[in-house]
């Protein structure tokens, strides 16, 4: 158990309820930054032509901010449903990394618990709760910390979505036209946050160029081709770096250390505010 964990303070709670509350409290900084994003999501859902129930339902079912935004955009563009689902899947594939790291620490838990752990897995929860899940405490107890963290993020997002829908309802009709840019701006801000280092820049620039090249493909398929192509370029850059600029011996290799900020595999910036 490392000292960086918020709950390693002397008055560390021992009851399941105390663990749950501690997990929830560890999320406070993320709650504040996720809330406005949730509000924007609620507003843009309506602007994309979804009903209140559909907007709220989508937000609550996918439990992933970026996936939700991409869904809104593609639905508004009238993309084919397999493309929308596939795009969501591609975006969510990074969760495989978190999930495989988490798996050995929760294997003795009952199936229902693991279902919930999986559903509640978002970037912010992983970054804060994973240290705790690695520790030697009983799996059930440390899971309560995790559940507290993911539950409070979920409720926060639900409230923010409702606030956003109310705000969107109040927005004059004239302002709703041209509301595709606010969505694009969301993607640009999140992308800008992830652009650190030449490798991820290369991946993003290639993906953008490929997307322009394949703009004519039907069903927005160019999007998927471009995303996969861009990631391949990123991987190639990683290879080039390893081959020509091997890391100095005292530095740990990137793939071994899950919590490094500069490792794109786990860069928290990719999902903006921990969503």
């Amino acid at each position: 158990m490392s000292d960086r964990t918020p709950t390693s303070a002397p008055e560390r709670p021992a009851t399941p309820r105390g663990e749950f509350v501690a997990g929830a409290r560890s999320m406070v900084p993320f709650l504040l930054s996720a809330f406005p994003l949730g509000v924007i999501g609620g507003t843009l859902g309506l602007a994309s032509g979804l009903s209140y129930l559909e907007t709220f339902g989508l937000a609550m079912v996918v439990n992933s901010g970026t996936a939700q935004f991409i869904g809104f955009k593609l639905i508004a563009e009238g993309a084919a449903w397999p493309v929308i689902v596939l795009t969501t899947l591609i975006l969510s594939l990074r969760m495989l990394i978190y999930s495989t790291l988490l798996a050995p620490h929760v294997r003795e838990l009952p199936q229902r618990w693991r279902l919930l752990l999986g559903f509640g897995l978002i970037d912010a929860v992983f970054f804060v709760a994973f240290d705790r899940m690695k520790g030697g405490e009983p799996a059930r107890r440390k899971s309560m910390f995790y559940f507290g963290a993911s539950a409070v993020m979920y409720v926060n997002w639900a409230v923010a979505t409702v606030v956003g829908m109310v705000a969107g309802h109040l927005l004059p009709e004239r302002w709703r036209a041209g509301l595709d840019f606010p969505m694009t701006a969301v993607f640009l801000v999140v992308l800008a946050g992830a652009l650190a280092g030449w490798k991820i820049w290369s991946a993003a620039v290639s993906a953008g160029a490929l997307a322009m090249l394949f703009l004519g493909l039907p069903y927005n398929l160019g999007l998927i081709v471009a995303a996969l192509g861009g990631a391949c370029v990123g991987m190639a850059c990683e290879r080039i770096e390893r081959r020509w600029f091997p890391p100095k011996p005292q530095e740990p290799p990137p793939a071994e250390e899950p919590a490094r900020d500069d490792d794109p595999a786990v860069a928290p910036a990719v999902d903006g505010d921990g969503r």
Partner: protein, 109 residues
Amino acid sequence: MSMLLLILGMGLATFAPRYVPLLVFRDRELPADVKTFLGYLPAALLAAIAVPSVLAPVDNRVEITVVTIPYLVAGLVTLVTGLFVERFMIVWTVGLAVFFGLRWWLGAM
């Protein structure tokens, strides 16, 4: 009805990568190459979505008109601001201000 199915499909697509390893992998870790590839996917996907929305906002065509200029300029401003400013809301608001300001100024509102 089809919207309900779409939402459920998206839900499954976001849930499966989170849950399946908890169900089956147990002790194995992902190969380093797979991890690297997955790490680059989100940024690549975001770029693949955002770049055409900025460069070809109308009918997927690249052109310079009073309608497309706000997209080009505000898109660039948003990205560049985002490289230097960390707060999401500040960057997003700056981008929107530029976009709607230009639209109003160019008379395309």
